[in-house]
């Protein structure tokens, strides 16, 4: 059997000598099936991660010839760099606006939509549409919508007597404007997650609550919906945090970090350093800082979901 040769690899993994042919075959098949995925996992995730780690400890510049070890200098530089500090601050500010807006807004909409019967699918479509649309294309439309002189938003503001606001070219409003667009893009997605969570709450409970005198919307929400939606809320919260932390597209298309750096976000700086200025080593260190935040968010989620059986 030609299998015999390769089977020694499998049986080397401390298999008892009496291992049956059946089991051996299963091990080989398992290895064979998992191999392509494993190789790709190595090539596209693990190996790059290792390379990235090495790069972050060097002063390598893509296209350059020489490369020196600099130890943790890149990290020290990043943490002291006012540009990076500002972009990190901006990113967290962006997260701080998108998360409450995207989570609480979606929760409100989901609770209201859930009880509709005939109009439910209509609202679902309306709120979900931005999720499927190409954000870059829609960003162009938003730019026009918010245009200081031509945009209808300012048209309405003028008509209301507020006066026009240069949403995207005013440092004080640019980031918040991007965050509103972030909420716009994300709301439908979160709404659907909440709707799934709401569907999982037995109808019986609401009916029992109705009979027990818990019939006002606020009472029902506080007594049943909110506590039972806990795990869903936790999940939505964390995914929204991660998504918001990865903000890039709207910055790249609409503001390019401006005006005066007020919308520079971490990932945009990673992109600039890594692929525009080719400060590869420095960008690698920035990438690890970026990853550290993502991992913290994921850890929060794992921790919270482990405790999700709260009743």
């Amino acid at each position: 059997m030609s299998l015999a040769a390769s089977s020694s690899i499998a049986s080397a993994a401390a298999a008892p000598p009496s291992i049956g042919r059946r089991l051996l075959l299963e091990r080989l098949t398992g290895l064979g099936f998992a191999m392509p995925a494993f190789v790709l996992l190595m090539l596209t995730i693990l190996l790059p991660l290792a390379v990235l780690l090495v790069l972050s400890l060097s002063n390598y510049e893509f296209g350059g010839v020489d490369m020196d070890w600099v130890g943790l200098a890149n990290y020290q530089k990043a943490l002291a760099d006012p540009v990076i500090r500002r972009s990190l601050w901006n990113t967290l500010l962006y997260v701080a606006i998108v998360v409450p807006g995207g989570v609480l807004g979606a929760l409100l909409i989901a609770v209201l939509v859930h009880r509709r019967s005939r109009t439910r699918s209509l609202y679902e479509v309306a709120y979900f549409l931005p999720v499927t649309s190409t954000l870059i294309a829609m960003a162009t439309v938003w730019q026009f919508l918010l245009h200081p002189t031509l945009g209808p938003v300012n048209g309405v503001l003028k008509w209301l007597g507020v006066g026009s606001i240069a949403f995207l070219s005013e440092p004080s409003t640019a980031l918040a404007t991007l965050a509103v667009i972030g909420v716009w893009q994300l709301l439908g997605f979160n709404m659907i997650l909440f709707l799934a969570g709401l569907t999982a709450i037995p109808r019986d409970l609401y009916e029992a609550a109705d009979i027990d005198g818990c019939s006002g919307g606020l009472d029902r929400f506080l007594t049943i919906t909110w506590p039972l939606l806990g795990p869903t809320t936790m999940f939505v919260l964390v995914t929204t945090m991660i998504t918001a932390f990865k903000v890039f597209d709207t910055v790249a298309v609409m503001t390019r970090g401006g005006p005066v750096g007020s919308t520079e976000v971490l990932l945009y700086n990673v992109y600039l350093e890594g692929f525009q200025y080719f400060h590869t080593g420095y960008a690698a260190a920035l990438t690890f800082i970026f990853l550290a935040f993502i991992l913290v968010f994921s850890a929060v989620q794992t921790f919270a979901l482990d405790k999700k059986v709260h009743y």
Binding site: A37, P48, T132, L267
Partner: protein, 293 residues
């Protein structure tokens, strides 16, 4: 305890009052929902309206939801002439199709092995998959870029697809699905002499159809709309997928030709939005798949 019978006698509940109460509640709910829907849909409406307006109307200060002069043909022609929009869309199809096929071919056998077969290293692999779930593509991007540059593969379809060939999410998702597939059927198939390869593709995979369909939608939406990676590896406009193409087009010149810009945006947004409107349920399931983690 008499004073605890508490509520100061509320006004008696009459049929008229209760009907009114219900009506007011309903009106309030719909008012909130409609206001939200206007916010969500306004960009789409404005995109379509602007794309059929002549420049004079676009630049006029007055807001109107319908053009006085229909200028749609001109705007869409400019958009299609000045930028290879259909080419961008085609690139998007090639990109999404290529990625999806490889993702499924790789992930399904691996997920089956993780779910149903015992082999050395299984647990390690699964832990790696779980770890992979937390790592966004922006992290390995730079080493991958360097590798592709060294191999001279930048500006190719392959370079655009390569980082996404392995979807740890697909492996994770399908593993969960396959685990609930009855062992008895697999054992019966083995007894009948069906090879393991055929068991995966002809018996187990068809049963996971809903998961595969949903994942396909999820994958397609994600990669059709992805900007970050194509922006890095593609500089040739001929290869640009829709978001990158849109960016090139917006940069190139049109500048303030908002009629053509919105027309281009409409053309590039249309495929997914139309697909969404047709297969609404599948889309919602697919795009929210990440929710099952």
């Amino acid at each position: 305890m008499a004073e605890l019978a508490l509520h100061p006698a509320a006004a008696p509940v009459t049929p008229a009052r209760s009907a009114l109460r219900r009506l007011v509640g309903l009106a309030l709910v719909h008012a909130i929902l409609l206001a939200g829907a206007v916010f969500m849909l306004a960009p789409f409406v404005w995109m379509l309206v602007t794309s059929i307006k002549p420049p004079a109307e676009i630049f006029s200060a007055e807001i109107s939801l319908w053009p006085k002069q229909f200028y749609g043909l001109q705007n869409y022609r400019v958009a299609l002439d000045k930028a290879p929009l259909l080419r961008f869309a085609l690139n998007g199809v090639i990109l999404c199709g290529g990625i999806l096929v490889v993702q499924l071919l790789v992930a399904i056998p691996c997920a089956y092995a993780l779910a149903k077969l015992r082999f050395p290293g299984r647990n390690v692999l699964f832990v790696l998959v779980l770890l992979g779930l937390c790592i966004p593509v922006q992290v390995p991007a730079m080493p991958l870029y360097i590798a592709l540059a060294q191999l001279g593969l930048l500006n190719t379809y392959f370079s655009m697809m390569a980082p996404f060939f392995l979807s740890v999410f697909a492996i994770f998702l399908f593993r969960q699905f396959f685990r609930s597939f009855p062992d008895d059927i697999i054992h019966a198939a083995r007894l009948d002499g069906v090879s393991e390869f055929e068991i995966v593709w002809r018996i187990v995979t068809p049963s996971a159809w809903p998961a595969i369909a949903a994942f396909s939608v999820f994958s397609a939406v994600a990669h059709w709309n992805d900007l970050y990676w194509p922006l890095i590896v593609i500089s040739d406009a001929k290869l640009a997928p829709p978001p990158l193409g849109m960016m090139f087009f917006a940069d190139a010149e049109t500048g303030s030709n908002y009629g053509a810009l919105t027309a281009a945006a409409a053309i590039l947004t249309a495929p997914l939005v139309i697909a969404f409107l047709i297969a609404r349920r599948r889309f919602i399931d697919g795009v929210t798949m990440t929710g099952v983690k």
